[in-house]
């Protein structure tokens, strides 16, 4: 059961990596990174449950925060603005 869960999530991550690698436009890659971040958050939460180690959920929280900020930074760049605008 656990194996199926994790293998499906890893498969999802590979789908995201495919989109990041393939593109074809920069926003496509940004979407891939954004979605990868969200999938990894779920992955970390599951990991926390199955290993019984609490700190994985902390990683999940930090990752979701960083993924959000990172996506917004990429968006700023795509719109052709500097990060301080």
């Amino acid at each position: 059961m656990i194996e199926i869960y994790f293998s499906v999530l890893v498969l999802c991550c590979f789908f995201c990596l495919y989109r990041i690698g393939r593109g074809p436009t920069p926003p496509d890659r940004a979407v891939g990174i954004d979605i990868l971040g969200i999938v990894v958050v779920g992955f970390c939460a599951l990991f926390a449950v199955f290993t019984g180690r609490d700190f994985y959920i902390n990683i999940a929280i930090a990752w979701s925060l960083l993924s959000f900020i990172g996506t917004l930074a990429i968006v700023k760049h795509l719109e052709g603005k500097g990060f301080d605008e």
């Binding site: 499906v8 999802c12 989109r19 926003p27 940004a30 996506t71």
Partner: protein, 258 residues
């Protein structure tokens, strides 16, 4: 009991994640991918986190999972909206089979919004002197030439008259002999930007607007300049019309592209 509910939530959540990622792979353009992936992956991950919360209850782990879920629910759609807008502004085109683009600017200026409706015509069989008279009287530099069936047959401008007078005498000449017969005209629905482009490329001073073969208006450089600078005052303030026109045209295209 909470174990079963928790595990079923996690299972369904993982299924949503998988479907979202398949959408990310299979869909044709960035907007579709964003739409499929963000919604279902957010939903899936939130269900996983909620399942973790249900399974472990109000332990530190469960509480943090709940916190993380709320955070993702808020941030993920925001990031997706920003990303879609960023992609649009970066000039990523919609899929060619997309049916509508509501984000496209709706107030495109058409020829009918800009054109002067009071057009002075001249018949091709009139004397050339008459045309000169009209041009000087109305202080304009060109006239559309329209025959008795009110179809556009040509255009006569100061330039035509000058080059004609260099070769022959204008006293007995008819308008037909001096006019430019090949006229570029536009329908009233034509976009002003396109007209401005044609005018600046071909160095025209005006183009007639034709509907069902009849001249309904005329768009001159001045009409376009007035629209671009949002000046209603018809008296020109700049001496070099060409330069102003070209700079405005460039500026407008730059704004439209960015």
């Amino acid at each position: 009991m909470s174990e079963i509910i928790g595990y079923s939530l996690i299972s369904v959540g993982i299924l949503f994640d998988l479907l979202g990622c398949v959408g990310l792979i299979r869909l044709p353009d960035v907007y579709n991918r964003l739409q499929a992936a963000t919604k279902s992956v957010t939903m899936g991950t939130c269900m996983i986190l909620f399942g973790v919360f249900v399974k472990s209850g109000f332990t530190p782990l469960g509480a943090k999972a709940l916190l993380c879920m709320v955070f993702i629910l808020i941030t993920s759609p925001t990031a997706a909206h920003a990303l879609a807008r960023g992609a649009y502004k970066a000039g990523v085109r919609l899929w060619q089979k997309s049916v509508c683009d509501f984000y496209e600017p709706v107030n495109i200026l058409r020829a009918r919004d800009v054109m002067s409706r009071e057009v002075t015509f001249i018949n091709p069989d009139e004397k050339l002197e008459k045309a000169i008279e009209i041009l000087t009287e109305k202080k304009i530099s060109g006239l559309p030439v329209v025959n008795s069936e009110s179809t556009l047959v040509g255009i006569i401008t100061e330039k035509d008259i000058i080059s004609y007078s260099a070769k022959r005498k204008i006293e007995k000449a008819k308008v037909r002999e001096a006019m430019t017969a090949k006229v570029t005209s536009f329908p009233p629905e034509a976009e002003v930007e396109k007209i401005a482009d044609t005018i600046s490329k071909n160095k025209f001073r005006r183009v007639p607007i034709v509907e069902n073969g009849k001249v309904v208006g005329i768009v001159s450089r001045r009409d376009i300049i007035q629209i671009l600078t949002k000046k209603k005052d018809p008296t020109p303030t700049v001496k070099d019309e060409d330069d102003l026109f070209n700079s405005l045209n460039r500026k407008k295209r730059k704004v439209g592209g960015g």
